[in-house]
């Protein structure tokens, strides 16, 4: 590898198949440019997006996570997003008390018609995350018993 490249945030987006994924498709169809930092994980419904997935994304060194689905009332499965909304509301409380940076985890509703919104959301998140720098989830690392924390040899 040559010189250290500028920081490029890694953004993981968990999106529902019927609204936000199609919204992102529409952004493509309309050739709406946005930063290439986002990786979409397609799930059928926001109802399927479990909090454990978000934790895993941070463990895998995501710098920001986006969760997005159909607007209230639009859910393909009628109520998955309502269940998700309530879950996330509570989950954010837990993250807050743990001191997880809430600026690293975003929730939006983006419909299949909102290609423009997808573009804006991704651009904003990418820029904001780029400004904040890499996310060191679970840091500062404990030093007192350093040996216990010999983390994965791979980085």
């Amino acid at each position: 590898m040559s010189a250290t490249p500028a920081f490029e945030p890694k953004i993981v987006a968990f999106v529902c198949n019927w609204c936000t994924y199609l919204g992102a498709d529409l952004a493509g169809t309309n050739r709406l440019e946005y930063p290439a930092n986002v990786r979409i994980i397609r799930l059928p419904c926001t109802g399927r997006i479990d909090f454990n997935l978000l934790i895993k994304a941070f463990e895998m060194k995501a710098d920001a996570v986006l969760v997005s689905g159909c607007h209230p009332g639009d859910c393909h499965y009628t109520s998955g997003n309502y269940h998700a909304r309530r879950r996330w509301m509570l989950f954010r409380e837990l993250l807050a008390i743990l001191g997880v940076d809430l600026d690293r985890i975003h929730f939006t509703w983006i419909s299949a018609a909102e290609g423009k919104k997808w573009q804006q959301v991704i651009t904003e998140i990418t820029e904001k995350t780029r400004e904040m720098g890499p996310y060191a989830y679970l840091s500062p690392a404990r030093t007192a018993t350093d040996e216990q924390w010999r983390e994965e040899a791979v980085s």
């Binding site: 895998m60 040996e147 216990q148 010999r150 994965e152």
Partner: protein, 334 residues
């Protein structure tokens, strides 16, 4: 005539060791109501009196709760295996309770009988154990019942004995211990206070007979009903040493790690088929005692218990080895 070190000097010495790059582990007041063996940042953190013993044991400094044994890396379609670095940092386990120190020679043969555990052995080699003779004991202590005592030196490289006057008689047990304190003690006529140990609460011989003969006894079910199946006893026990091997990683590679495990977990013996030979908690409790007092002694000649009482103190429902063994001795309900 004995060699003594004052409390102040001992704390100073901790600072010296730290500045030499050694890791120093000793009892520390982590938060109100919680004393643990923890790595010390300075000598002042060392907690020397006013408590019976820390809630954890020193085993985790020679046998950590999580330890990578090797890493695997995908290089394209190839897989690279990378040996984990064997830890070699010098450490001093200071003011260890004799019941903690005594656990180490009990564990040594286990980590060397068929396969020499390089990680364990290296840590043992680079570790100096300085124990502190007990001045106090509580209802949970029973070192004397398993052949140990408050000033036991087995497993220690040196032992500190309080004179009750803010100083300690330093008694080296071997050259390693002598070297550690060499030049830091002074001669004194002070005599150490020898505390009495807890009174004997059972006879290991009786226990072994019972274990041999009463494998199917309803005793186990009766006495261990309240066990909720956590691992608090095993994880704070100086001698429990079971571990699990897990892989943790991602698409680029990962590690194979040794993690503590406990026979009290229902998953411990669960077969892939779904069958579980130890299907109820009583069988798991029986297993724990059987291993400590019969199987391990038969194999390695040593009881796998130092009477520290941690299992009783840390049990959410106050069920420890001692309560079961006492009941076994008296036939009374616990």
């Amino acid at each position: 005539m004995s060699e003594v070190i004052s409390t102040t000097d001992l704390r100073q010495l901790v600072g010296d060791w730290l500045s030499q790059g050694k890791r120093v582990v000793g009892p520390r007041q982590v938060k109100p109501d919680l004393i643990l063996y923890e790595p010390l940042v300075n000598g002042e953190q060392l907690l020397l009196d006013g408590f019976v013993r820390p809630s954890n044991s020193i085993k985790e400094f020679v046998f950590p709760r999580h330890e990578s044994v090797y890493a695997y890396l995908f290089q394209g379609k190839e897989l690279d295996l990378v040996d984990a670095e064997v830890p070699f940092r010098e450490q001093v386990l200071l003011a260890a309770r004799p019941c903690d120190a005594a656990a180490l020679p009990i564990l040594d043969p286990l980590f060397n009988w068929d396969y020499e555990d390089e990680f364990y052995n290296t840590r043992r080699r680079t570790t100096t154990v300085v124990s502190l003779a007990c001045l106090a004991h509580d209802d949970a202590c029973f070192c004397t019942s398993v052949g140990l005592g408050p000033a036991e030196t087995r497993g220690s490289d040196a032992i500190l004995l309080s004179t009750g006057d803010d100083e300690f008689v330093v008694q080296p047990v071997n050259e390693k211990g002598r070297a550690l304190f060499s030049g830091h003690t002074r001669g004194s006529a002070a005599e150490p206070t020898f505390p009495p140990g807890p009174k004997k609460k059972f006879k290991p011989g009786h226990v072994q007979t019972f274990l041999r003969e009463q494998f199917e006894s309803s005793f186990w079910q009766e006495q261990t009903l309240r066990c909720l199946g956590c691992g608090a006893c095993a994880y704070t026990c100086p001698t429990c040493h079971c571990f699990d091997i897990v892989d943790e990683g991602n698409a680029t590679g990962g590690i194979r790690a040794k993690n503590w495990d406990s026979c009290q977990f229902s998953m411990f013996t669960l077969h892939a088929s779904g069958h579980n030979p130890r299907n109820v908690q009583a069988q798991r409790q029986r297993q724990r005692l059987l291993h400590k007092f019969l199987v391990y002694p038969e194999k390695f000649g040593k009881i796998l218990c130092t009477g520290c009482g941690n299992c009783t103190r840390n049990c959410p429902v106050s069920l420890g080895v001692l309560s079961v063994l006492e009941a076994l001795g008296t036939g009374q309900s616990i």
